[in-house]
Subunit: 648 residues, 2 copies
Amino acid sequence: MSDLDHNKDLTVWRRATEYKPPRNWRNWLIGRPLQTADAPHQTIGKAIGLAVFASDALSSTAYATQEILVILAAAGTLAFGYAFPISVAIVVLMAVVSISYEQTIHAYPNGGGAYIVARENLGELPAQIAAAALLTDYILTVAVSVSSGVAQINSAFPALFPYRVHIAVFMVMVVMIINLRGVRESGLAFAIPSYFFIATMFLMVGVGLFRYITGGLGHVVNPPEMVVPPEVLAVTPFLILHAFSSGTAALTGIEAISNGVTAFKEPRSKNAGITLIWMALILASLFLGITFLAGKVSVVPSEFETVISQLGRTVFQGEGILYLAIIAGTSIILFLAANTAFAGFPRLSALTAADGFLPRQLAYRGSRLVYSRGIVALALLACLMIVIFQASVTRLIPLYAIGVFLSFTLSQAGMARRLFKIGRIRPNEEIRERSSTLRHDPHWLPKMATNGFGAFLTALVMLVFAITKFEDGAWLVMIIIAVLVVTFFNIHRHYRNLAKSLSLEHFGPPPPIARHRVVIPIGGVHRGTLAALRYARKLSDDITAVHVSIDSDEAEKIQQKWEEWGEGVRLIIIESPYRLFLEPLLQYIEEIAAKRPVNEILTIVVPQFVPHHWWTNILHTQTAIQLRIALLFRKNIVVTDVPYQVDD
Amino acid sequence: MSDLDHNKDLTVWRRATEYKPPRNWRNWLIGRPLQTADAPHQTIGKAIGLAVFASDALSSTAYATQEILVILAAAGTLAFGYAFPISVAIVVLMAVVSISYEQTIHAYPNGGGAYIVARENLGELPAQIAAAALLTDYILTVAVSVSSGVAQINSAFPALFPYRVHIAVFMVMVVMIINLRGVRESGLAFAIPSYFFIATMFLMVGVGLFRYITGGLGHVVNPPEMVVPPEVLAVTPFLILHAFSSGTAALTGIEAISNGVTAFKEPRSKNAGITLIWMALILASLFLGITFLAGKVSVVPSEFETVISQLGRTVFQGEGILYLAIIAGTSIILFLAANTAFAGFPRLSALTAADGFLPRQLAYRGSRLVYSRGIVALALLACLMIVIFQASVTRLIPLYAIGVFLSFTLSQAGMARRLFKIGRIRPNEEIRERSSTLRHDPHWLPKMATNGFGAFLTALVMLVFAITKFEDGAWLVMIIIAVLVVTFFNIHRHYRNLAKSLSLEHFGPPPPIARHRVVIPIGGVHRGTLAALRYARKLSDDITAVHVSIDSDEAEKIQQKWEEWGEGVRLIIIESPYRLFLEPLLQYIEEIAAKRPVNEILTIVVPQFVPHHWWTNILHTQTAIQLRIALLFRKNIVVTDVPYQVDD
C-alpha cells in the first residue's frame, strides 16, 4: 500500500484515489466528469450580468399584456381600454419592489434570496414557507416560459399547434441536458439572444409609436379567434383586480439578481444594484409600450396567436424578416428564462437540503459539479405541469404569481426586520450573522420604511391574487405550498431525531459481544450450502442448521446428506404442516432470540446462489431478502447472505 | 428445547412446529389455512362424475352453432343451410376423438392428460408442446366460456350489454376466489346446475322438434342485428372449411375426463370410460339438435343476442319462465366450464413446474392446499384476454381450438406409439413406465389403428384450422405456443445447469477459510458505526475502516472522532475528487481482493441504521444494497449489513 500517505499515527491513512469514472453514454450526453477542484470562480460585469439575470424578468413582457386582456375579455372588447391603466399600476409596484431588492443586494453581498433573508431575520417557519413558494414558482416558471415560447412559435407556424405539448416537453429536456452539462453563466451564449431580444422589442415598440404618432399604425389584419368568455360580465372592481393579478406575472424574475450577487465583479453590490435598476427600467418601458400599442392596434387575446405576434405583424406590416426576428427573439428569451429557473431550483433545493429540510441527496453535486438530482426533478415536475395544463399559458398563469409574491413579501419583511435591528446598533458596533454582517446605518429608518411598504404592497397583491384567482387554480398552489412546508418540517424532524439517536455524546461504548450464535437456514444440501457452512464456521463455533420441511421425503434426504457433509453441525428439522417456510423459521429465530442475554448476537447466514443471468432470479424464492425485511427491526440480529456463483 | 425429538444421533433434531398462520383478511376471503395432512381422498360415481367433468364439453353447445353461422353469414343467409351438414361432420370427428380417449382412460388409470401421454411416449419436446398448447387453451377456455356466459345474460337483459367486460372480469374473479378457497369437486354444487342445463336443453330441443313436426315452430320474432359481412362471398370450399373450423369448438373439453380418472370410484377406468361415452352422446345430440332447429327458425348470428336465446324464445313462444330457465342454465354451465379450466391449469402448471419447465414456485400449494399461484395467474391472463377482445366470443374463437387440436393430436399419437410398443410385448411380460404399466394386449392393432386415425384426423383439422383462421388470430396462438415452448426449455436448462453446479457428486469439500478480512465502509462516526465495529471485532482481528471523502473538512472530523472511538482499528480515507462514493470503494475492495489467496474471505460490514418509519428510507442513500448488487458476482466476498435501529 505504497500509495497511502501515513498520517499522524499508525491507524489513519489517506489515499488520493486514482479512480476515474469510465466513459459511457452519459459522457456523450452531458460531458466528461469534472473534479471538485475544477469549479470555476469567474465573475461578470454589468453588461453580461444583465443578459444572464434579466431573461426571466424581461421574458414576462411576452405574456403579461396578453394575460391582462384575457381577463378583460370577459367584459367584452370595450374593457380592453383598462389594460393600460392597469399596466401603469403594475409598473408602480415594479418600482417599489426593485428599490426594495436594490437594498437587499447591498445588505447581502453574498447573495440574498428570499430564503436566506427570511431564514436570517424571520425564523425557520417563514424561511421554509419562502422555500416552498420559490420551489413551486421555479417549476411554474419553466412551465409558463416554455409554454409561452412554444406559443410564439405556433403563432408564426400554426401547423405546429397540435404538437405544442410535445415541443414544450422536448424543449424542457433540451434545457435539462444543457444544465446537466453544467452551463457556465458566462457569456455570449446569454448576451447575444438577450440583447437581440431587447433590441428587436425596442425596435418594434419604437416603430409602433412612430407609426401611431404619424397615423399609419392601422389594426390587426385577420385577428385570430378570440378567447370566448362564457358570459359577458360588467366591468366590476373585481374584474379589474383580477386582470391586475394576471398582469403581475410581469414582476416574476425580478429577484434573480439578488440571488446571484456573487457572480458580479467587485464592487459587486454596487454593480449588481445598478444592473437591477437597468433591468427594471427596460422591463417597465417594454411592458408599458407593448400594452399601449396592443390597445391601439386592437389586439385580441387568443390561444392560437400571441399578442406579440399580432403586434409584430401589424407594426411591421406583414410577416417579413423583422416579424420573424421578433418571434425568434421572444421564443429564445422565454427558453432562456426557463434556463434561469434551472439555475435557481437546484441551488435552492441544495441549500434547503443542507439545512435538513429536503432529502440530503439533493445537496450532492453530480459528475459535472451541478446539483443533477435537482435539475432532473425540476424538469420532470415542469413537464408534468405542461402535460396537465396542455402547455396553455392562460391556464398556468393563475397558479404562477402567488408564490412569487409570497417570497417577495417574506424577503422584504425580513429586510424590514433586519433594518429595525440595525437601527439599534450604535456606530462602530457590528453584529455577525450567518450570511451577513449588521453594521450601524444612519439611513436605516427610510430604508426600513421602503422595505416595509414593499412588503405591505406585495402582501396586498398576494391577497388580491389569492382571492381573484382562487377558483382558477390559486387554491391548488396554496395547498401545495402548505403540504410542502409540512413535509419539510417532517423531514427536518427526522434528520434531527436521527442525529440525536446516533450521537456519541453521553454515549458509553457498548460491552463487547459475549456470544455469537449462527443459524443457517437450508433448503437442501448442495455446494451453496457448504459455502455458507464454511463461512459460518469461521464466524463462530455455535452453529445450528435449520431446515423447514414441507415434504417429509425431502427432509429425510437432507438429513442423510447432512450426516455426510454437515461436519457434525447440529441440524434442526422444523415440520411445517401449513407449507409455510418463512413464518416457522422466524418463529424459531424469535424463540432463541427471546432467551438471549443482551450482549449476545445472532447471525443468520443464508446460502444464496447467484445465477449468471439476472432473469433467472424469478425462478427462485428470494429467501434472504424476505428474511432481511422481516428481521430488520429486531435488535442484535444480523442477516448475511453468502453468495455462491453458479454458471447458469 | 424440550419440544424437539432427538433423532438417531446427536446432530439431528426434529420438531413439529406449532406455528399456526394468524387470522387476517385473506382468511375471510379464502378460508382458514389447511394442513397438508387435510388433503381429501374421496371418489365419485358416474352420475356425479358426468356433472363434474362434462360442464366444459357440454357448455360448448352454447356457442358452437353460432360460430358456424357467423362464418357462413359471409355468403349471405342462404349459406346457413350448410350449417347442419357441417355439424354432422363435427359429430363424426367427436365420435373418433371420444373412442380414442376412452382407450386412453384404460391405458392411464392414474390420469392421462395429453402432457403425460406425450411425455411418456413421444419425448420431451412433444410433451412441452402439449403443455404450451393446453395452458394457452385453459386461458382461452376461461375467456370464451365467461364471455359466452355473459353474452347469454345480455341476450335476456340487453341493458347490461355495455358492461359486458366488467361483468366478465367480475365473474372470473368470483371463480378465482372460489378456486383459491379450494372447491372440492364433490357434489351437488356441480350436479344440480349441470343436470338442470341438460334437462332444459333437452326440453328445448324436444319441444322444438315436436313443434317442427307438428308444423307450429315459426320463426324468430324481431331477430337481432346480424353480424354484417364486409362483402358477400361465394360459397367456396374454403368458406365451408372455415365454418367447420369454428364449429370444432364443440369438441373442447372432451379430454377432461381422461385427466381426472383418479377421481372416479373403482373400477375407475371402466366408470370413467362409460361416463365419457355418455357425455359424448349428450353433447352430440344437443349440438345436432340445436343446429338443426337454428336453421329451421331462421336464427341469425349476432353480438347482441345469442343463438340459444333466439332459439329459446322461438321454441317457447316468448320470454317466459322456460326461456329464462334456458338462459340461466346456459350461463351457469358456462361459468362452470371456466371453473373446470381453473382445476386444469394450476395442476398442469404444477406438473410442468415439478418437471422443471416452469418456475418451481408454481408447484407450491398455498394455504388451502391448491396451487394458488397458478390459479391467480390463470385469472389474470384470462381477464387480459377478455379486456383485449372486449368479451366477444366471435373474436376469441379463432384463437381457441388450435391448442385443443394440437393436444388431441399429440395425445393420440402418443397412444398410438404406446400401442405399437405393446404390440411387441409377449404375453405375461410387462414394462413399467413412470405413469403406467405396459402389458400384452391381443387387441393392440385395432386400438392402434383407432388412435392413429384419430391423430391423423385431429392433425388434419388443426391444419385446416390454422390455414382458414390464420388471419383471424390463429397466427398469434402459434407464436405464443412457440414462445412458450422455447421459454420452457430455457427454464429447464437453467434448472439442470444449476443442479449440476450445485451437485455434491465428485465434489471435494473446500479447504477451511485461512484468513478472514473485514472492511467497514463508514460515512461518519456515530452509534451505528460503532455497532458495526463491535460486530466486526467479533468476526475477525483484521479490520479496516474505509471512509470515502468528498469533503475534506468532513474527513478531518471523522478522523478525529475515529481516533477517540475507533478502538485502534486502521482507518483509510480515500479522497474522491469526482464526488463518487461507491466506485472508489469498489476499486479499493477489488484491489485487496486481487491480492488475496483463494482460501481467504473478505466480509464487508456495512453499518445501516433502520429508521422507524419506512418512508424515511428515501431520505438516505442505500449504500448496503448498492454494494451488495455490485459485489454479488465476486467470489469469496460477503456483504453484511449490521442494522442499527433508531427511533426516527
